[in-house]
Symmetry: C2
Subunit: 412 residues, 2 copies
C-alpha cells in the first residue's frame, strides 16, 4: 500500500547491473534454474534473460547445460548454473565458547568447515585475531586449489558498528570499541574486504535465506546462549536501525520486578530466558556453560522434574517476550536458535501457550515458531552470505566493465 522509500529514479545505465544482480542472486539462493524459471523469479523478460545469461556465460560466471528430464515429454530445458568453484568467501565466527571458520562457494556450498572450543574468558583482540588467522590458514591449506576469497564475513557475539567493523560492545569478550574488522583485514592480508556483523543478525540472515524462515518476509530470530540476541527481517529486509544496533531483543524490559542484567539495566528479557536463568531454575551450576545446558536438556529428555520445570518456566518467559514481538512486528515465522533450538521440544508448548494468551489474535494466527534448521552454524553461514553481498549486489565488478570480459578474480 505504501510505496517503498527506495523507489527513486533509476538511470538507464544502472539497469543492466541491477538485472545481472537479480539473476546471480536467484542462482545463488535457489541453485540451477532454467531460463523460464529465471523469467518467473526475476520478473525480467525472456529476451532480457537470454542476453544477460549470454553475458554471464561469456564472463565464465555461469554455464548452461542440458538437464536430464526423466519422464517428461519434449526437449529438456537447459539449466543455468553458477560456476561455483570459481568464487569462494571466507566466513569466520567468534562465538561465546567457540571459534569457527568456513570456506563457502557461490551458491552456498560449504567446502570446508571447522569449529574449535574457546574458553569463556575475556580475550585480547590480538589473541582472537591470531587464532582466527590460524584457522583460516588451515582451511586454505586444505584446499590449495581454491581462489583467494573474494570477501571475508565475520560473525561476532557483540554489538557491531557495521560501517567500520568496530565491536562497540562484546560483553563475553570484555571488548568495548574494538576495531576487529581493521585488525583482521591487516592480519589476514587477503586483499579482500572484511565485513563484521552481530552473530544473531547473521543467524537471522542465514535462516531467512537458507533455513527455517525461507520464503517468509517478516521474521524474528532469537539466539539464546549466555546472552540473548536477535535478528529481525522486515518486509524481506534485515532490520538494521539507525546505526546498526537494531534487533537487541534480549534487552527488552520484560519484568520490572526482575533481576539486574549484565547491560546495567533491570528485568531485561535475557535475565529470564538466558542460560544463567535456566541453570538457576534447575539448580545446576551457573557457570556450567554449554555442557551444563546439554546435561539439563538430557535430564529433561529423561523426565527429571527439575529440568522439565526449568525449561517450561523458561518457555513461558520466552513466550511473553515473543508475544510482544508478535504484536509489534507481525512476523510470519519466529526462529529459535542456540539453546532454544536444542531445547525446543521442552519449550515449545509453553511458548505457544503464552503467545496465544498474550498476542492479538489477528497477528498470532499467522505466526509459527520453528527451531533453527541450520543449528549452531547459522551465524557462520550468515557471515558467508554477508561476504557474498557485494558480488550479489553488483556482479558487473567481477565481469568487467561491459560484457564478456574475464572475471576480475585474483588467483591465489
Amino acid at each position: 500500500m505504501f510505496t517503498p522509500r527506495e523507489e527513486v529514479g533509476q538511470r538507464s545505465e544502472t539497469v543492466r547491473r541491477a538485472n545481472l544482480s537479480a539473476i546471480v542472486r536467484e542462482l545463488h539462493l535457489r541453485g540451477p534454474l532454467s531460463r523460464s524459471e529465471l523469467v518467473a523469479w526475476t520478473g525480467l523478460t525472456r529476451s532480457a534473460i537470454r542476453s544477460l545469461v549470454g553475458d554471464l556465460v561469456a564472463g565464465d560466471f555461469v554455464v548452461e547445460e542440458a538437464a536430464l528430464r526423466l519422464g517428461t515429454p519434449g526437449r529438456p530445458s537447459p539449466q543455468v548454473r553458477l560456476v561455483a568453484d570459481s568464487v569462494v568467501v571466507l566466513a569466520l565466527e567468534i562465538a561465546v565458547d567457540s571459534l569457527a571458520v568456513a570456506i563457502v562457494g557461490l551458491g552456498g556450498e560449504v567446502h570446508w568447515k571447522e569449529r574449535v572450543d574457546r574458553p569463556r574468558a575475556h580475550s585480547s583482540l590480538g589473541d582472537i585475531v591470531d587464532d582466527l588467522c590460524h584457522l583460516a590458514k588451515r582451511a586454505r591449506d586444505q584446499r590449495p586449489s581454491y581462489q583467494t576469497p573474494i570477501g571475508v564475513g565475520v560473525a561476532v557475539a557483540g554489538l557491531v558498528r557495521p560501517i567500520d567493523g568496530v565491536v562497540a560492545a562484546g560483553p563475553n569478550l570484555g571488548w568495548i570499541d574494538v576495531p576487529l574488522g581493521a585488525h583482521l583485514a591487516a592480519a589476514l592480508d587477503l586483499g579482500a574486504p572484511v565485513e563484521v556483523a552481530n552473530e544473531a543478525d547473521l543467524g537471522a540472515l542465514a535462516e531467512f535465506r537458507r533455513g527455517a524462515a525461507r520464503g517468509a518476509e517478516d521474521v524474528v530470530y532469537v539466539h539464546g546462549e549466555v546472552g540473548v540476541g536477535g535478528g529481525i527481517i522486515v518486509g524481506g529486509r534485515p532490520l538494521s536501525g539507525t546505526n546498526g544496533f537494531g534487533g537487541e531483543i534480549g534487552h527488552m524490559p520484560i519484568n520490572p520486578a526482575g533481576r539486574p542484567c549484565r547491560c546495567g539495566s533491570t528485568g531485561c528479557w535475557e535475565t529470564e530466558i538466558g542460560e544463567v536463568a535456566l541453570l538457576a531454575r534447575a539448580g545446576y551450576p551457573l557457570d556450567g556453560g554449554r555442557m551444563a545446558v546439554a546435561a539439563l536438556i538430557a535430564d529433561a529428555a529423561e523426565g527429571r522434574p527439575e529440568a522439565v520445570e526449568a525449561l517450561r518456566v523458561t518457555g513461558r518467559w520466552l513466550g511473553v517476550g515473543l508475544a510482544g514481538l508478535v504484536n509489534v512486528l507481525n512476523p510470519r515465522v519466529i526462529v529459535l536458535g542456540g539453546l532454544f533450538s536444542r531445547a525446543f521440544p521442552y519449550l515449545i508448548d509453553d511458548v505457544n501457550a503464552e503467545i496465544s494468551a498474550l498476542a492479538l489474535v489477528a497477528s498470532r494466527r499467522v505466526v509459527s515458531v520453528a527451531p533453527a534448521s541450520l543449528g549452531i552454524d547459522a551465524p557462520l553461514l550468515g557471515a558467508a552470505e554477508l561476504a557474498f553481498e557485494p558480488l550479489l549486489a553488483d556482479p558487473v565488478a567481477w565481469l568487467g566493465p561491459r560484457t564478456g570480459a574475464v572475471p576480475q578474480l585474483v588467483v591465489a
Copy 2:
C-alpha cells in the same frame, strides 16, 4: 551492508515510470525545486530530468516558472512546481471521539478541513458511513470548483486488513471484521479508490513525511488516547508485517504483575500508559475522556501535585516501553502523539530518564524523543498521503500511456 530484497531486475520500459515517480514524489514532499535540485534529490542525470520534466509539463502536471532570486548573482534558475489544484484527495478519519474530513492537494496543501465530535459509544457501520458521507459532501460543496478526488484515504482507530479495508478489530467502535472500505466506496460513489489504514500507522506516515520525524529513516510513533497505538518506520519504509497488523506496540506485555487489558491479555503497555491509567493515578473520573485529560494537564501546568505525579508515573512507564523499542528497533526519532503530545512537557524528563537507565548506550545515544508536530491531525494528513500513493507510485497512469497526453482526471 545487506542488499534489499527488492533489488530485483527492472525492465527497461518500467524505468521511465519509476523516474517520473521519483520526480513527482520529490515535488510532492519538498515543494517547488529547480532542475539542479531535482538532480540532487532523485539521483537522475541532468538530461533525464530535462526530458522527464518536459513530459510532465506537456501532461499539465507541472509548470516551470522563473523564480526570483533576490541578492544572488546570475540568471535565476526556473522552478518546477506541481499544478497542485488539479489533483486532490479526500481524507477521512474515524477517531475515538471525533470524525474528520480534509481535502488535500498534491503537494500537501490542505484546502479544507473539518472535525466534529462523536460520542464515545459503539457505532454501527451504517451510521459512521452516513456521517462521513455528510462531512465529505459538505467539504466538496464548499469548493465546487475542485476536481473529483483521485483517491480517498481513511484513518480508523482499529486494526485494519490493508488488502480490502476491513476493520478486523475496532474496540472503541465495537467492530469486528467490518467491511468499512467497501461500504464507504459504495456510499461516497466517487469512482475513486478507497484505502483504509490504522490511525497510528497513518500518524507515523504523516510525521515521517511532513512532521517531527522528517528526514529520519527509523521512526517510532506512539499514539496515546483510550488505547495506545503505534506506527513504525524501518529504513524509510512503514513496517506493515505479515498481514498488515504490525506496530501494535500498545499491547507489548510490560508488567507481568499488571492489570487486565481490553485485548484479553494482562499487563499490556496500554494498561500503564493509556488514558484510563493516567486518570486513575490522578484520581479523575475514568470515563472523563479527552476533557478530563485536558483538565489534568491544565492542573499539572498549575502545579497540582496529583496531576504532576500522575503524569510523571505515566512518563516512567512510557520510558520503560520505549527503552525496549529503542533496543529492538534502534530508531533515530520517537514521536509522541495524541495525549502524549499534549502532556509532553510534563512527561519528557521521566521518559528520557527511563530510556537512559534501560536502553543500550549505543542505541540510546542516537535517539531523540519529540512531540508530534502535526497534532491531532497527523492521522488525517497520513490518510491523505495514503490516498496519493497510487499517483506517486505511477504518475504515468495520469499522464497517458506515452508522453504529453492530457491527464486522465475526471472533472466533477
